[in-house]
Symmetry: C2
Subunit: 260 residues, 2 copies
């Protein structure tokens, strides 16, 4: 007969449970810490782009070394930071703020961050499919200009934009310098009036293989998907867009009010 100490039995029983609980708690704390560090990283709060040593972070945030490491792993997986031998953990993200308060074209909203260029992949008139005709308030199968652009900031792919514009305005885009101008600006010029409002919807989706390849991102990467129907100041809809932003390159920023 084998004698076991009660304490030993208890230990055998509780250890896996306790260990699982510790792992869960550490994962929760790592997420908590990662969120705080992410904000600091994106706000450019680390001088020279170098994060403090793990011990310093641990002391600052009251976190164990394991938790700090796990938090930094999360930020590394998001490609916000990288570990560099002899230097430490450094900020490597190039994430840009896109205004969510006002209706802005990409070059307008990012002018302080670099130069936006557009690779026009497709530009041709098409018969508007029903949902496009409906939203642009033109007759079914009426002609619209379809434009597909890969947009870059300082050469880095940022978004893939699919755009439908009624042919009246679309004609003026055919001859325009779409490589170097926002469609918004060109539409305002051609229409002789400013834009008014846009209905937007924003989603997070995993990139399909082909979209990922075009955006030079890994398959499955998180994309910020923006659908936007833009109207002229007089209320007429003039621009229906489906935009896939690389999630690792863009943050939407805005100010919400409790009452309007």
């Amino acid at each position: 007969m084998v004698h076991r100490m009660p304490a030993e039995r208890t230990r055998q029983h509780t250890t896996p449970v306790a260990a699982a609980r510790r792992r869960r708690l550490r994962a929760d704390r790592a997420r908590q810490l990662a969120d705080l560090l992410r904000h600091q990283v994106l706000a450019g709060r680390f001088p020279d782009g170098v994060l403090p040593h793990e011990e310093v972070i641990g002391a600052d945030y009251g976190a164990s070394r394991n938790t700090v490491r796990q938090a930094l792993d999360l930020l590394r997986a998001e490609q916000l930071v990288e570990r560099q031998p002899g230097v430490g953990t450094v900020v490597v993200c190039r994430k840009y703020p896109h205004a969510l308060d006002r209706l802005r074209g990409l070059a307008e909203t990012l002018h302080a961050h670099g130069r936006v260029t557009n690779e026009v992949r497709t530009i041709n008139p098409v018969a508007a499919p029903a949902p496009v005709a409906d939203r642009l308030r033109i007759p079914p199968r009426g002609e619209v200009l379809y434009v597909e652009r890969l947009r870059r900031l300082d050469g880095l792919p940022l978004s893939l934009d699919l755009t439908y514009v009624p042919m009246g305005l679309g004609l003026s885009l055919l001859d325009a310098d779409l490589e170097n101008n926002d469609v918004f600006r060109l539409i305002e010029e051609a229409a002789g009036q400013p834009l008014g409002t846009a209905e937007i919807s924003l989603e997070a989706v995993n990139a399909d293989a082909h979209s990922a390849a075009v955006l030079e991102a890994p398959r499955g990467t998180a994309l910020l998907m923006l659908e936007r129907l833009t109207h002229l100041a007089d209320g007429s809809p003039v621009d229906l867009e489906f935009i896939r932003f690389r999630g690792d390159r863009l943050t939407m920023r805005g100010l919400l009010h409790r009452t309007l």
Copy 2:
């Protein structure tokens, strides 16, 4: 010496290139079609939630059968639709609109869609880490209430919310019914004044393994990550939140203005 017909050489040379080009074009057209169908799916435009037959979609959108299939594959990969034997392609998403125009709690914004319940995973006072103290304008290491909730709509996990509230207001949350109330409502009650504005930032990120497990979603799934600093009407910051929404369950909707 082997004789080859010029045409044959040409064919050998161009066939792979032409095939690659056809694949690229079809992928582009599939994306284009998928975007239009996605809007219809999310807007609930298909009666009984059943999409038309592939031939009908092809005729409606002037697309080949292969393109239609590939577009439906994209929507299936996003878990918006499913193919059901004997029925066809049916809508299976449960994607809810979250207001992006006004500052709203989750239960407030989704009240027409179902019942929001909150599983409180953690609630305890902590010494505010520097970036939290800074943003909530309290002394460094001052006490804040930390709350972690898994939020569900009609039982389905929707978001994982990490919340920091200054202890003055936090005390009132300790005794409140957090399972069934938005923190916004509880704060307004305790503060005796409405909320004012919130600075938000929105990103798309791939879920880490642990967050994915908590949200009952596949690892790497696209999350809509919302960081929100909310102020009372008098301007004092009262609520710092880091919210991970399941990308497949939520759409942010808003109206942007060209000028303010």
